[in-house]
């Protein structure tokens, strides 16, 4: 029989949940080594810690040169997208208890690597700008707001959830093969305005997306839908844009 002893006041409930994990990180430090290399860290974490906490522990206690992006740390800002055990994930949304004792962390594919897990997002945002991701409507503004029915709002609800982390774009073989391709995240954000009843720029956007670097390079591989930390059905959104171009209308 196990004896139960009262925990001292102030002791954390999860104190017994400590575990040791090996975190293998693909590092790139261009000022000292022009080749990427692997480095392994052993770190003590709790099951309810997130991968981001483990990375912070490594950076703060073991190796201050480890470089990664994080900002809000709560799955909203989309800064810490990285490849974890081979799949794109947000480090702040992964619990250590779900990851096993050996974890591989790499920067995302399809982006130029700046340092360690930090990738260059500039081309990503340039492609995002290309699809005009803002409301276009030159009609005189009504006295109050531009009204929209719940059904009209629901039409593009899915794609309003995007946080521009790049997890989908970095998981897409078409992006790896052709860096010119606009990529899933841009199409998701084009979708958000193409199907918005208040917007008048759909024809313009569909025209941009119908050229060689537009939607047609999507080969329905579905890596993007699986990678999206917001659960957006990315491939569905791309298919809807494809059909809108093909049928010549948003309906």
């Amino acid at each position: 029989m196990a004896t139960v002893t009262a925990a001292p006041r102030g002791a954390t409930q999860t104190g017994s949940d400590l575990r040791t994990v090996q975190v293998r990180i693909k590092r790139f430090q261009p000022d000292t080594n022009d080749q990427p290399y692997w480095q392994e860290f052993t770190v003590q974490v709790e099951g309810k810690d997130r991968l981001l906490d483990a990375l912070n522990k490594i950076k703060w206690q073991q190796d201050g040169t480890l470089t990664f992006r994080r900002s809000c740390a709560h799955g909203v800002c989309g800064s810490d997208a990285m490849r974890v055990n081979g799949r794109n994930r947000l480090a702040c949304k992964l619990l250590m208890q779900d990851l096993g004792a050996r974890i591989t962390v790499e920067p995302m594919l399809g982006f130029p690597i700046i340092r360690d897990l930090v990738v260059d997002m500039d081309p990503f945002f340039a492609k995002y700008e290309k699809v005009k991701p803002y409301l276009i409507n030159d009609e005189p503004a009504p006295h109050t707001e531009r009204l929209q029915s719940p059904e009209q709002r629901a039409r593009f609800d899915e794609t309003t959830k995007c946080i521009l982390c790049g997890a989908c774009t970095g998981s897409c073989p078409s992006v790896w093969a052709n860096s010119e391709w606009v990529g899933p995240a841009s199409i998701v954000n084009a979708h958000r305005f193409i199907f918005d009843s208040r917007d008048r720029g759909a024809a313009d956007r569909l025209n941009i997306l119908s050229d060689r670097t537009g939607v047609w390079r999507c080969r329905t591989i579905f890596n993007c839908s699986e990678a999206c930390p917001r659960g957006i059905h990315v491939t569905e959104a791309i298919e809807e844009v494809k059909r809108a171009i093909m049928y010549g209308s948003e309906e």
Binding site: I221, F222, E236
Partner: protein
């Protein structure tokens, strides 16, 4: 290496089988062109298709064709049927099952002559 799910492997397999079928098409254009050089040359050339190794290659071609055709239907459904994307994984397993079911009798018909079995005159016909 990215650890993709069935969608990534279905796409990769579609690519590889597509290129393999294209390669066969080139061979096929050459063997059909030989018809222009008279029946003897054509018959001698086409006899190669009855050899054991080419029968093995032919079964690989059958496997590639079956997968590529069924997965092509899956892709068409994803593209044109608005709910298609929801069932892409199930459809991939159906594609694999249909390919295997179609493959077994065809492979038997092509490979049996290697083992001296001649179903429905298979020994007298080149594999392709």
């Amino acid at each position: 290496m990215y650890r993709g799910q069935s969608g990534q492997w279905s796409w990769l397999l579609h690519r590889i089988t597509g290129l393999a079928i294209l390669l066969f098409l080139l061979v096929h254009i050459v063997d059909i062109t030989l018809l222009g050089f008279g029946p003897t040359i054509y018959n001698d050339a086409i006899a190669i298709f009855s050899t054991g190794i080419i029968r093995l290659v032919s079964t690989a071609l059958i496997a590639a064709l079956l997968y590529h055709s069924f997965n092509g239907i899956r892709i068409i459904l994803i593209d044109f049927w608005p709910s298609g994307y929801k069932y892409q994984q199930q459809m991939f397993y159906i594609v694999l099952a249909a390919s295997i079911i179609g493959f077994i009798p065809m492979a038997f018909y092509i490979l049996a002559p290697i083992f001296g079995v001649c179903p429905a005159g298979a020994c007298n016909t080149p594999a392709m």
